[in-house]
């Protein structure tokens, strides 16, 4: 079972970071043969912030290639699995007690899924409240540094260290918006009916959380939320377009994998990329390239951007009335290596649940195997709500 690359030293405040987050004392590979052994000249702001707050980076967790996949099954270094069941390496490190928390780059929902399946607590904070400086870029308009731990308090503690304005990230929000403040107790939570498409075991988890909320005196109301179903296609269009552009810098010229099979520059490019990228990355690049082409830009990419705005506006209306939206994180409670080998687009299908928050940048807390989505900058309120569950 391939879990993570450990460093020798370890202290009481161990944090594992995933392989999308740059460190200078260990390679950062994004789970790709393209970056096998890549040593960065600089470290991520997230790593700097953790060290400054007394944490030790105890190792790098294996990831799927550019974190596009379901649960790390596309890693060049092999999936993290146990008896054929996929785990998600960062979450598994926390689960096994080797790190107090995992800090990962969420791109297409794999961090949320891994936490939900492992019964851990995970938070994806509001986009722009944790610096993305020094994370391997995949889908910059939505990707977010997030934290997974065994309990809400630990997630909150580590997030407090990570959050803050950073001049090195042009999308970083002003400092006062990054601080986790005090929160009012939740009064009203909506259940997104359109997302209740999971299996019975998963729906039972939703019901359990719902029951606890009601027991805590929170009013729980079902809403249709059909608009959220638009997010899957739209996010995959935007993500593919951005990924296609972001991985174009891996051309075999400057660093990373270079094919031995070339006689001219075109062959150097084509063969290096053909030999080093995996299936999902290649298909995402092809799809992204197509969505950005002159013929399709307005039909596809621009339309996806408009859908992003429609969903944001819809959510603004919902959050004017509700403190959070309750929904599943994935459609079932277990995924096997075999399944993902047979169906290479499972991540796409499962992104139904995670795409609404990825495309809008809203904060999400995963707890009890389900997710609570909140309004932008309601991070503290979501954590407070999770604490009562």
């Amino acid at each position: 079972m391939k879990v993570y690359i450990t460093k020798s030293e370890a202290t009481g405040k161990n944090i594992v970071v995933d392989d999308m987050i740059l460190t200078t004392d260990m390679p950062t590979t994004a789970g790709s043969k393209m970056l096998d052994g890549y040593m960065s000249l600089f470290e991520a702001q997230a790593v700097t912030a953790l060290k400054e707050n007394g944490y030790t980076i105890c190792g790098k967790a294996n990831t799927g290639e550019f974190n596009l996949d379901l649960l790390g099954e596309t890693s060049h270094f092999g999936p993290c699995e146990e008896n054929g069941v996929l785990k998600g390496a960062a979450a598994q490190t926390v689960k096994m007690g080797d790190a107090m928390a995992a800090v990962t780059l969420e791109v297409n929902g794999s961090s949320a899924r891994a936490a939900a399946l492992a019964g851990l607590v995970m938070m994806k904070p509001t986009y722009g409240t944790v610096s993305r400086f020094g994370t391997i870029p995949a889908a910059c308009s939505g990707e977010t540094v997030c934290v997974t731990a065994a309990d809400v308090d630990t997630v909150k503690e580590v997030l407090t260290a990570l959050k803050g304005h950073d001049d090195k990230d042009g999308t970083s929000l002003p400092q006062e918006k990054c601080v986790l403040g005090q929160a009012m107790p939740a009064k009203k939570v909506a259940v997104a009916k359109s997302l209740l498409t999971a299996d019975a075991d998963t729906l039972a988890k939703v019901e359990a959380v719902k029951a606890k909320l009601i027991a805590n005196g929170v009013e729980v109301v079902e809403i249709e939320a059909e608009q959220l179903l638009l997010a899957k296609s739209a996010w995959n269009i935007l993500m593919s377009a951005e990924l296609c552009n972001n991985v174009s810098k891996y051309d075999g010229v400057k660093y990373g994998y270079r094919t031995p099979n070339y006689t001219n520059i075109d062959e150097l490019y084509t063969n290096s990329r053909t030999e080093a990228f995996g299936y999902l990355t290649k298909s995402t690049v092809l799809f992204g390239s197509e969505t950005l082409s002159e013929a399709n830009y307005f039909k596809v990419y621009d339309k996806a951007q408009r859908i992003r705005r429609v969903i944001s506006e819809y959510l603004t209306a919902v959050f004017a009335e509700y403190d959070a939206i309750l929904a599943p994180v994935c459609s079932k409670t277990e995924y096997t290596v075999e399944e993902t080998a047979a169906n290479k687009y499972m991540a796409y299908e499962e992104s139904t649940y995670t795409a609404p928050s990825m495309i809008t940048g809203i904060p999400v807390v995963v707890t009890g195997g389900v997710q609570l989505m909140g309004a932008p900058l309601s991070d503290a309120a979501l954590l407070a709500m999770a604490e009562t569950l």
């Binding site: 960065s40 994370t135 999308t171 390239s289 950005l292 082409s293």
Partner: protein
């Protein structure tokens, strides 16, 4: 049939900023290969672009100089293509909302005045440079130029001859240099031009098949290339020598020919899209008016002022307005010394002499004009001799002299009014050189100059020449 030529120009100008457009690397020309490189401009993963505000300042300045509308919300987009000199495999540029639109440049040719419309000006980053080493038959990349800020000025197809193209480019260069947007040096590649050209029957309003010649880097090459392409297009239309296709062509200035590079069919699809890492740049009123205030008077306005109320000759005025730096020093100097003629002389003759000696151009003059004014004043008040003033001027080129009179005092450059001191020196000189005295008395004027020179040397130049001469003659006559 008579044909008319339709030309649109795309001009790339490197901006005069200290650092690159998205990182803090130096943007200076001429460093050792790959000296000005960091993880950001060499395309390493994890670095995020931070827009250099100075680039936006200069983009706005260029737009204002060329009568453009400034887009108050302007965005950056990514343009994807593979080339080894482009480390990210995308260039960050402006596609959807460029900083300036709808401008105008007025030109003057043998056919009279004409306005050339500007379609847009956009900001972008430059690419690196490939250096082919014939000895080892390898190609190496120099990333120094990568991410050096550029603006691209796109004209409407309003230009109808090589003469107009040159007039437009010269005017553009004058305006941009005057506003200190760029040094616009063709020979260093800080100004480059793409020529889009087609021909059509005179009076027709349908455009013909267009060809583009990229990266032209001198006015003479542009003239030759336009003439060649017009002849080629005309021949093709009249005699059917070849079929014209929309394509990019390379101009070979040595051979005087253009060659097909790629056609429309094989041209790349650049897959433009907004860069999600760069928030839209919002230009508020405060920013806008701050830049507006820095705009210089146009060269022709200054020329008028210099020859009119300031009374300079046309020659002097032309010399000064050839460079913004000269104008700045001149105007500051005049405001202190009050004499335009004197200030112009000092700049055109004395300052240029120093610059020439240092192999520097007029644009590189950066002495303090106020100090020069003080110096001119001291000379006109006979407090410092002209010879010593030149020494002080030379010192100004080495470092700023804020209080010129204090400096002159400290270094003993103040003209002495103490006639008894002069008399003593004169007496000594006469006593030491009776031959010259005798020669002068015998009518040899030159002999007096010899004595005068010796006295002046003793006085370190700090004597009023008139006074010295009078005392000298008086003392000789006493003998």
């Amino acid at each position: 049939m008579k044909y008319e030529t339709v030309i649109g120009l795309e001009v790339h100008v490197e901006l005069a900023t200290k650092s690159k457009i998205f990182c803090s690397c130096s943007a200076e020309f001429g460093a050792e290969q790959n000296d000005h490189v960091c993880p950001a401009c060499s395309g390493m993963p994890g670095m995020l672009p931070i827009v250099n505000k100075r680039v936006v300042d200069l983009g706005m300045t260029a737009g204002m100089m060329l009568n453009c509308d400034i887009n108050r919300v302007t965005t950056f987009d990514k343009k994807s293509y593979y080339y080894p000199d482009l480390p990210n495999a995308y260039q960050t540029t402006q596609w959807f909302s460029p900083i300036c639109v709808n401008g105008r440049v007025d030109i003057e040719t043998s056919k009279g005045p004409k306005s050339i419309r500007i379609k847009q000006i956009h900001m972008e980053e430059d690419a690196g440079k490939l250096v082919h080493d014939d000895w080892s038959d390898t190609t190496l990349v120099d990333f120094n130029r990568t991410s050096v800020p550029l603006i691209e000025i796109v004209s409407q197809p309003d230009i109808s001859s090589a003469e107009e193209a040159i007039a437009y480019l010269e005017r553009l260069r004058d305006l941009l240099r005057f506003a200190k947007v760029s040094d616009c040096r063709w020979e260093q590649g800080s100004m480059r031009c793409d020529v889009n050209l087609s021909i059509r029957p005179e009076g027709s309003d349908v455009l013909g098949v267009r060809t583009e010649m990229k990266n032209m880097n001198s006015l003479s090459a542009i003239t030759r290339a336009i003439k060649y392409e017009v002849a080629r297009h005309t021949r093709a239309l009249e005699k059917g020598t070849e079929e014209l296709v929309q394509e990019t062509r390379r101009w070979d200035d040595n051979e005087g020919k253009s060659y097909a590079m790629r056609t429309k069919e094989t041209a790349g699809d650049y897959r433009y899209f907004p860069d999600p890492n760069i928030m839209p740049v919002v230009i508020d009123d405060e920013w806008f008016s701050r830049i507006e205030k820095t705009l210089p008077e146009l060269p022709e306005v200054k020329r008028e002022k210099y020859t009119g109320e300031m009374g300079l000759s046309e020659y002097d005025a032309d010399q000064l307005v050839s460079s913004r730096a000269l104008c700045d020093v001149f105007e500051d100097a005049v405001s202190v010394c009050g004499s335009a003629k004197e200030a112009a002389n000092w700049i055109i003759t004395d300052c240029m002499q120093v610059l020439n000696k240092k192999k520097m151009t007029a644009d590189m003059l950066d002495i303090n004009g106020t100090s020069l004014g003080q110096l001119i004043k001291l000379v006109s008040e006979d407090k410092v001799s002209r010879g010593n003033a030149k020494r002080i001027l030379a010192a100004m080129f080495e470092g700023e002299i804020a209080d010129v009179e204090a400096y002159a005092k400290e270094y003993g450059f103040i003209v002495s009014n103490d006639t008894s001191a002069i008399e003593n020196i004169v007496k000594e000189a006469i006593a030491a050189d009776p031959k010259s005295v005798a020669d002068f008395k015998a009518g040899k004027e030159k002999a007096l100059m010899a004595l005068f020179g010796k006295c002046m040397k003793q006085l370190k130049g700090n004597a009023n020449p008139q006074v010295l001469r009078e005392i000298l003659i008086a003392e000789i006559n006493k003998i």
